[in-house]
């Protein structure tokens, strides 16, 4: 039996009609995705099925219906698929009596490495996450953030090309977050597929603009943030313009068909629209033609967080009425980062 991995298949994660239920509880319902190399953020409220999707991809669960493939292989009970997968589970669970180095080296050895190689790789992985000085201490003495970094180190120690991270930023301080996100970026740049669930949206936005949004076990949006936003015609957008003579600018903008309303603020004005592109053009035109002095131009609804909350509310509403909540789905991206 060959011990060398088959890396011919591109790191991909493909689900088709994937459903998973636990007794009467439906965790995932008819999920179909095709993810390629790069960084994907898996977003959704608690209980939306994020962890279930990651566990299915990691071969810890079997689908109730449909199928999931990692690098073209069914992951459950398939060592050839699992050797290409690294998982950082959400649970803060490690063996407290082992040191950080023993933990990661042991798990590396279970991945097929010889003891000396496993130790070297474990040291390198722990160093990458800033645990060099603490790696000989028992994990039981670690802070929550350090334990999180041990979990991440074990996930990458065998150099997987599909990295599944379940809430990897939980309990981490800003420095740890920076180290974790840098490592994620580095791995994605080397061609890995990184799928991570998180609640820390600003970090997601800094890391990737490709998201999967799960609500009540269904994917309500997937693709690039701007694509999703553009496809959601009903997603209201506000544009804040701070300039001199805001009342005059507001009067001009009210004549534009793409502008739904204008509201004066303490400083400047707020323009509401459902067609952002023509409205931005109209604002620019009005500013130039009217000779206004522009101080700032921002949109509080253009952030990922605003889109997330809008989609979650929308998904929950649709699920309650039995309608398909996935109508806001952008194209499934499989390209590089």
């Amino acid at each position: 039996m060959s011990t060398e991995p088959d890396r011919s298949a591109e790191p991909t994660l493909r689900a088709a009609g994937l459903s998973k239920w636990y007794g009467r509880v439906t965790a995932l319902q008819d999920v179909s995705v095709h993810l390629g190399p790069g960084i994907w953020a898996l977003l959704g409220p608690n209980g939306s099925g994020k962890s279930t999707l990651l566990h299915l991809a990691a071969g810890l669960l079997r689908p109730s219906l449909g199928q999931i493939r990692v690098c073209g292989l069914v992951p459950f009970g398939e060592p050839r698929a699992l050797r290409r997968v690294g998982l950082c589970p959400e649970a803060d669970a490690l063996w407290n009596e082992l040191t950080g180095l023993q933990t990661v080296a042991t798990l590396a050895a279970l991945g097929g490495m010889r003891p000396a190689e496993a130790r070297d790789r474990a040291v390198a992985a722990l160093e990458a996450f800033g645990l060099r000085d603490a790696m000989e201490r028992p994990v039981g003495s670690y802070s929550r953030g350090m334990r999180q970094r041990v979990k991440l180190a074990q996930a990458v120690v065998h150099d997987p090309d599909v990295l599944l991270l379940d809430e990897p930023l939980t309990g981490t301080d800003p420095a740890s977050r920076h180290a974790i996100l840098e490592e994620v970026r580095r791995r994605a740049a080397r061609g890995a597929l990184v799928l991570f669930s998180t609640h820390v949206l600003p970090e997601v936005e800094a890391l990737t603009d490709r998201v999967l949004l799960l609500v009540r076990g269904r994917i309500v949006a997937q693709g690039r943030v701007h694509e999703i936003r553009d496809m959601l015609a009903e997603h209201p957008q506000r544009i804040h313009v701070v300039c001199d003579r805001p009342r005059a600018l507001g009067a001009r903008l009210l004549e534009e068909p793409s502008v739904a309303g204008v509201r004066l603020l303490d400083e400047g004005l707020e323009v509401e629209t459902r067609e952002p592109e023509p409205t931005y053009r109209a604002v620019a035109r009005a500013l130039v033609e009217g000779g206004f002095e522009l101080r700032s131009l921002t949109s509080p609804d253009a952030t990922l967080e605003a889109l997330f909350h809008h989609l979650v509310e929308r998904g929950a509403r649709m699920a309650g009425t039995g309608a398909d909540p996935g109508v806001g789905r952008a194209r499934a991206g499989t390209g590089g980062p």
Partner: protein, 261 residues
């Protein structure tokens, strides 16, 4: 990217080392050591409390009551009933299950670690009893060794079986593994081992006592049919392999439960 597929032997060895390390660093080893020391101390007290105690008989009683009657049940519960169940309860199982290792390697590796600890303590404890009891009469120390080794070997064989039973329950019902192991050993092995006639063959403890040349006791011992010793040994080994195979099948088909996520 250099991860490799672990060959089966490598995988079993890695799991065995991991399991052994956990046992060595855990509290259960200390509990087991205290239990063994108590039995050794009890044997020494029984031997030296009176002048007319025959050392051979003292060793025999210690092996019969302390080892075949208590430690052989206690040690597998301590070392094997939590082997997989603890990983699941402590939510560390996903860290292991996601490795490219056949699930059967986890069963075998964890079994070898738990069984090894059980057997080592049983045999070491029996030899310690032998040594302590014969200290006052060194002339019989070596002459009586074969009898003690035979009894210790038989008890160790039973311990290996009970470790497999404990592991089976650990894999099958992790949330109640210890309770079910204790019930199984108490009802099927201990209680049924005292039944009359053919009914006694439900329990492997009867064959263990036969192999170790220990008193078989129980209800109406004269009604129990005589069988060749090799059949008893074969029965114990077969049942051990059967429970291990069942555990491997159950674990290889097991999914992580929702509460473990």
């Amino acid at each position: 990217m250099t991860a490799r597929l672990a060959p089966a032997t490598h995988a079993v060895r890695a799991v065995l080392q991991f399991g052994a390390r956990r046992i060595l660093l855990g509290r259960r080893l200390r509990v087991a050591l205290v239990a063994v020391l108590l039995v050794v101390a009890a044997a020494a007290i029984a031997r030296y409390a009176a002048d007319d105690v025959d050392p051979t008989e003292a060793v025999r009683r210690a092996l019969q009551w302390g080892f075949a009657g208590m430690l052989v049940y206690l040690l597998p519960v301590l070392f094997a009933s939590g082997a997989i169940a603890e990983e699941i309860e402590q939510r560390t199982w996903p860290l292991l299950a996601v490795r490219p290792v056949p699930r059967s390697a986890f069963v075998l590796g964890k079994y070898l670690a738990g069984c090894g600890a059980t057997v080592v303590l049983l045999v070491a404890g029996a030899l310690a009893v032998h040594l302590v009891v014969h200290l006052a009469e060194p002339s019989r120390l070596l002459a009586e060794v074969p009898g003690t080794v035979r009894a210790a070997g038989a008890v160790a064989l039973l311990g290996a079986l009970y470790a497999a039973i404990a592991l089976f329950w650990s894999v099958t019902v992790p949330e109640a593994a210890t309770v079910l192991t204790v019930l199984h050993l108490a009802l099927v092995e201990w209680a049924a081992g005292a039944l009359p006639g053919w009914l006694r063959f439900v329990s492997m403890s009867h064959f263990g006592r036969l192999l170790g040349d220990l008193p078989i006791g129980g209800l109406l011992p004269d009604t129990v049919p005589t069988v060749p010793m090799w059949i008893g040994a074969l029965a114990i080994i077969t049942e051990t392999v059967l429970f291990l195979a069942l555990a491997a099948v159950v674990l290889s088909r097991a999914e992580m439960r929702r509460t473990e996520a």
